[in-house]
């Protein structure tokens, strides 16, 4: 099986490279490749050269700064990273993480499943097959390491490769075991619960150690916090229990070559142990695992996302505007991936955290942390999320053949497609904005006066739907005008050219957003000048409303203008990824 696996891996890689090179004959891919290559060069290599030149000029001595920025944490870094890895490992049991290792391709199902191979052989094949992608991740990490030394990059890249491999295999084990937690078979149930128990013991012990050092006396600063946490987690019971997690992280913090080699060997040993665990539980759940793999494989041929019908679905009204139909459809799609109970729990946690921060947290910095996070989250939700959340035409292009047979005006289709993601992101941004406002006194914007702060918050709330809708319109316009540039649904085209295409799209989106907001901003400025003497700082709110109104009109006009383009959009223009 090993030779067959290697044959598949080599042939796939060779053919993929061929396809990517061949498609460079098309201008859009060539342009994408040039932009992607230029980005890589100027981001990493050119900067590295400049740093090297600077180093030569400075002629720094042998006792210069450490190679890795993280080396300041050499003593406690591995333990701290181990805590983070433990947290992720524990969360993997609670959140629906999935490694995708069991996502067999349709061809693998067709050829390998009926072949005389054991489940173990299939799993080993998938593990081997995933290595190329993980290696690529390691290489990207190596390039991104803020260091002038090629050796440090190589070290970080290899360490990252091992870390990603461990993650992939571990998440697969969790996926396999999680499905059997409620198994009627006692043996399978016991095998599934054992790792949960181990992780739970680890979490309890490490949490106790952390709480005891954090709460023992007031924290003097970040340095003090790190030192104390590092000390608590590298000794005693917590240190022993955290050893496998710290061992995985240790190659990143090892100083010399011998220490690095030793740390890497131990990390590989952890990888081997986890792989053995996965193979063992796979054997324990032979049937279930085989069924799960087949089910996943079958699902992968038609869809990537697992949808579940949940109780309390909202029925579509039999009469109404077509836009409402699209919003209902997208909302149903979202709520069949994300459980409403999960959303309710998230809201409860955020509310509790906010109340806790507002009442007790101001003294020890929790309010600062939560408030700043809420501010950043608001900015992300308004300025980046519309590009990431794709529950609109970018996803529905997959169903274009169906949509085209519907008797619905094209502008209504486009408006309908925008409606749900715009509502969802706006509500989310309002929620985070509210948290940020409540805790603003402890954040960097706390220096601004209360009236100004509240006015700016209200103005941001007014502007948020306009900015979100404008970006969604731009993204959907791109989907209609340049469908071949838009990845369908959850597809993620790979390669330098695809990266370049994404960068071009990002740049174009930002530029178009600026151009869209500009007329509104001018009107807002005029309104603000007119009202500021009467309303004072609160004048920013009507000014923002003016801007939002102008943007809303632009969005409406844009959806009307895109109608003919949608009508002439041909199903053959949609490209499936390689």
């Amino acid at each position: 099986m090993l030779s067959a696996s290697l044959y598949i891996i080599v042939c796939s890689a060779r053919n993929r490279i061929r396809v990517r090179l061949r498609r460079l004959r098309e201008p859009r891919y060539l342009l994408g490749a040039i932009v992607g290559g230029a980005y890589l060069y100027f981001s990493f290599f050119a900067r590295m050269r400049a740093r090297r030149a600077g180093d030569v000029r400075r002629r720094s001595g042998a006792s210069g700064p450490p190679v890795l920025a993280l080396s300041a944490l050499q003593t406690t870094g591995a333990s701290l990273a181990g805590v983070a890895l433990l947290a992720v490992s524990a969360l993997a049991w609670v959140l629906p993480f999935d490694s995708g290792l069991l996502d067999f391709s349709p061809a693998e199902i067709q050829f390998l499943f009926p072949a005389p191979l054991t489940r173990r052989a299939l799993l080993v094949h998938r593990m081997l097959r995933s290595q190329l992608g993980l290696l690529f991740g390691g290489v990207i990490m190596a390039i991104a390491v803020p260091s002038v030394s090629g050796y440090a990059r190589l070290r970080a890249g290899i360490a990252m490769w091992v870390l990603l491999s461990i993650g992939k295999v571990y998440f697969t084990g969790v996926s396999l075991a999680r499905a059997r937690l409620a198994s009627p078979d006692r043996r399978a149930r016991r095998a599934a619960w054992l790792p949960v128990a181990v992780i739970a013991v680890d979490v309890v012990a490490v949490s106790r150690a952390l709480f005891s050092v954090v709460l023992s006396r007031p924290i003097a600063g970040v340095q003090d916090l790190l030192t104390r946490v590092g000390a608590a987690t590298s000794s005693g019971v917590a240190g022993i229990l955290l050893w496998p997690f710290a061992t995985i992280a240790r190659p990143f913090f090892a100083s010399g070559i011998a220490a690095y080699a030793g740390a890497l060997v131990l990390a590989c040993a952890v990888l081997a142990a986890i792989a053995a665990w996965v193979l063992q539980i796979d054997a324990a759940f032979e049937d279930a695992a085989a069924m799960a793999a087949e089910r996943r494989g079958a699902a992968a041929t038609s869809q990537r996302t697992a949808y579940r019908v949940r109780r309390g679905s909202v029925a579509l009204a039999l009469r109404g505007r077509p836009e409402g139909l699209f919003a209902w459809k997208a909302a149903t799609q979202t709520l069949r991936v994300v459980d409403r109970a999960v959303i309710a729990r998230l809201v409860a946690v955020v509310t509790a955290l906010t109340v806790l921060s507002a009442t007790f947290g101001r003294a020890n910095g929790l309010a600062t942390l939560v408030g700043t996070f809420a501010l950043v989250a608001t900015a992300f939700l308004v300025l980046m999320a519309p590009q990431v959340v794709r529950v609109d035409l970018r996803d529905d292009l997959r169903h274009l053949e169906l949509l085209k047979t519907w008797p619905v005006q094209a502008p209504a289709v486009i408006r309908g497609e925008l409606l749900w993601p715009a509502m969802m992101l706006t509500v989310a941004s309002w929620a985070t904005l509210m948290v940020a406002e409540l805790l603003a006194g402890s954040t960097p914007i706390g220096r601004i006066g209360v009236v100004w702060r509240l006015s700016a918050g209200a103005a941001a709330a007014v502007l948020a739907p306009a900015l979100v809708s404008a970006q969604l319109t731009i993204q959907n316009a791109a989907a209609v005008l340049f469908p071949a540039w838009v990845p369908l649904g959850s597809q993620r085209p790979r390669g330098l050219d695809a990266m370049g295409q994404r960068l071009i799209m990002l740049g174009a989106t930002w530029l178009l957003l600026l151009l869209t907001v500009l007329p509104g901003a001018i009107v807002a400025l005029i309104a603000w000048f007119g009202l500021r003497l009467v309303l004072g700082p609160a004048a920013v709110v009507p000014a923002a409303a003016c801007c939002a109104a102008v943007v809303a009109v632009e969005v409406l006009l844009a959806t009307e203008a895109l109608g003919p383009a949608y009508d002439s959009l041909d199903a053959t223009a949609i490209e499936r990824t390689e």
Binding site: T305, L325, H399, K404
Partner: protein, 247 residues
């Protein structure tokens, strides 16, 4: 005429140049008629059906549904049309019942509940109303697509390989359903490789080969056509003859 296709041509632009899938195709389908559209693989049948349904734009020519041009008056044309493709295309996150409800809203179907219940019975989808497409077999998904097409009062029905994935009972029911719809006055265009089905249910047949119409008429007309007399009396023999595989 319920469906009129006039000098229709469809060309695909590819990296290796333009390719004409269908050229100068003209035919009509009247109310109550069941017309079989047959031809070898690559003859242009699916391209024709997809263009009539408004999925692909005709490169040239006109397609009219009840005198509404699919390009210049698409909404009215689409309201009167139901397309049942060979590959069941459904929203993977909507249940069977939700698909039917969605169609009812799109086409403003009166008396939806009664029609929907009757169709679910007719197509043996009972008990599957709450299922997602991913939980259904291919045949069941095909039935859902057909139910979505039949839940409204379309005057023109386009079937592309409607029997794919159906079991023998499903095949028989589907055959009866198609005939019943034609009796109710629907114009039906049915594309299939199953010549016995075409022979059994269709009132007329159009044979396509390499993008062109090579024969059009009732079985009697084709069997007595001067150049086809030698071919034989059944559709298979006629089909093989006109597509150049007679020997």
């Amino acid at each position: 005429m319920a469906l009129a296709v006039d000098h229709f041509r469809r060309t695909y632009e590819g990296a290796s140049g333009a390719f004409t899938a269908v050229d100068d195709l003209s035919f009509t389908v009247g109310a109550g008629e069941i017309v079989g559209l047959i031809g070898p693989n690559g003859a242009g049948k699916t391209t024709t059906l997809r263009s009539i349904a408004g999925i692909l734009r005709p490169t040239a020519g006109v397609v009219r549904i009840d005198d509404h041009d699919i390009v210049t008056d698409p909404l009215e044309a689409k309201r009167r049309l139901a397309f049942m493709p060979d590959e069941p295309h459904l929203f993977e996150y909507l249940t069977v019942a939700e698909h039917l409800r969605l169609v009812a809203r799109l086409y403003a179907v009166d008396d939806f509940e009664r029609r929907s219940t009757a169709l679910v019975d007719e197509l043996e989808l009972n008990g599957k109303e709450g299922s997602l497409p991913g939980e259904l077999s291919r045949g069941m998904r095909q039935k859902v697509v057909i139910a979505c097409g039949l839940v409204r009062n379309a005057t023109t029905l386009l079937f592309d390989e409607p029997l794919t994935g159906l079991d023998p009972i499903g095949i028989r029911r589907m055959r009866n359903t198609i005939v019943a719809r034609a009796r109710d006055g629907a114009a039906i265009l049915l594309s299939s490789h199953l010549l016995h089905l075409v022979e059994e249910v269709c009132t007329r047949v159009i044979i396509m080969d390499r993008g062109r119409k090579v024969a059009d008429g009732t079985f009697e007309e084709l069997a007595t056509r001067a150049d086809l007399v030698q071919a034989g009396s059944n559709l298979e023999q006629i089909f093989l003859h006109v597509t150049g595989h007679g020997s």
